[in-house]
Symmetry: C2
Subunit: 301 residues, 2 copies
């Protein structure tokens, strides 16, 4: 695994977080073997990454609050954010929720982890349960796994015939276009780790009794299909990488880089959205008087 | 407002967080005018409170993770926590969610804010929407407002006849007993502020354009019924204060005390629950071998 992500600037180069969107955006005809999961473009040290990620907390919180406030006005905007996290076991989906979205007021965040579909979910089309979980206006939503499982595990494990899953790339693009038209800013992150790193992380879980609950015998079965999954992910990155719902490839062998990169992408999108405090829908001076005169303290106070 | 909460130890006295449960627990025949919202029992300085609250973050997180892990086993336990936050406008319900529950992994927390009921909710009994929002096993749930609104605003604004709301105290006690029997640890917190403090907080909102979205003209109307609400709260504290679902009165004029007290109560309950890492349901040595042999890197890596 010595290849680097094409066009990545050398470590230490100067670039802003908006450059990061260009740098990490999946390229047409992406071949996953060409993407280095150890890369840390632009961030030479772990210490910097940790500090910078923490420092983004107040900024992310401020934007989240303004996004929420904006949605509360009568002439409200339907804007919201949806971050889609995909990646194989141990790639860090939960870690990102904890370390990045944990920086923001939990009241402004809606987390949905998609598990194996229930009987009820299976009796609907595959996008039914996804649509139900789309965040309301004003919120930052996070999908831990998503509609893409229906062209990943479903394809690899042959749960539906090829003609069914092949049709889904287009259905997903249409669905995401519809969300975008309705005010959803979509940020899709593929957390890219190497199979060697996964081995190390699974063995670390097995070595620590307090992590045994995270381990399942199925993890080995899924791992054994690594290259089938990579082929499926390549189709996802190439066929569902629209400008309204782009894929970013996050080199994720280094957890501190992964966290910094996702936080930076989120911050950059929020900056671009630039949510604004809504104007008062009341006369401020009048309400100040009303508050002062609303209660007499003499009775009980 | 010079009275202090009965039996509060003097500031600076030594006592543990488990004493705090005794100290803050609503007494039989509670009269709200006797409870001092400025009190800070046991915590003399703001600086200490802030430090101690932050220091509880890792402990709370560790317990939350164990509670979640415990629920994932096949012979699972149904244990979970439900924190109910009640208090008048500006008393700090949102602030507690942000500052206390924001310390914990957001994946382990389920927040439900109850607003004015929808048409669908009103077509069911008053506990229907509450029951739907009870946290799943392994989670820490937070109710921002709750079933108690149905004996507070509903009573004060005469939305149902007295014979209907009077019956609800018993219904709520039965409901909470049922939750407790099914593994829910219930912690109910009444955030107690003075009307003077509310005035100051509402005026602060009005003075700051970035806080105007939090203000509503209705706030003045509700505020004008302060003493009706206090009478309704006294009934709540006296009639629904069971050992399986106790009420704690949190003096909340000082935000730093309020946050510290709720964090301490949560931590104390989690310590008492003492959730444990579940044992592995697989042979560890066997799985280590399985991971090592599950994939050949030669093909593509």
């Amino acid at each position: 695994m010595t290849m680097i992500i094409k066009d990545f600037p050398a470590p230490g180069s100067n670039y802003s977080t908006s450059d990061l969107r260009q740098i990490l955006r999946a390229r047409p005809s992406t071949t996953i073997a060409e993407l280095d999961p150890d890369a840390t473009p632009g961030l030479p040290t772990e210490e910097d990454a940790r500090k910078l990620t923490m420092a983004m907390g107040p900024e992310l919180s401020a934007y989240q609050e303004r996004l929420y406030a904006e949605s509360k006005t009568e002439s409200c905007q339907d804007r919201r954010v949806l971050v889609v996290l995909q990646g194989l076991d141990t790639s860090g989906k939960s870690g990102i929720v904890r370390h990045v979205f944990g920086l923001v007021d939990p009241q402004g965040v809606k987390i949905k982890a998609f598990k194996k579909p229930t009987k009820e979910e299976l009796s609907h089309d595959f996008l039914w349960r996804i649509n139900k979980a789309v965040p309301e206006r004003g919120y930052i939503g996070i999908f831990d796994r998503s509609q893409y499982e229906d062209v990943l595990v479903v394809r690899v494990d042959e749960l539906v015939p090829p003609e069914v899953w092949k049709q889904r790339f287009e259905l997903i693009n249409e669905f995401e276009k519809g969300l975008s038209d309705q005010g959803v800013t979509i940020i899709k992150c593929f957390l890219h780790i190497s199979p060697q790193e996964q081995e190390a992380r699974l063995l670390a879980r097995l070595a620590d009794p307090s992590k045994h609950w995270k381990y399942s015998r199925d993890d080995v079965t899924v791992r054994s299909k690594w290259y089938d999954y990579m082929a499926a992910y390549e189709d996802v990155l190439n066929l569902c990488n629209t400008d309204v719902a782009p894929w970013y490839v996050i080199p994720s062998n280094k957890k501190w880089y992964r966290n910094w990169a996702v936080a930076s992408l989120l911050l950059d999108h929020l900056e671009e959205m630039s949510p604004q405090w809504p104007p008062a829908d009341f006369d401020v001076a009048e309400q100040i008087e009303a508050v002062k005169n609303s209660l007499s303290y003499s009775a009980n106070g």
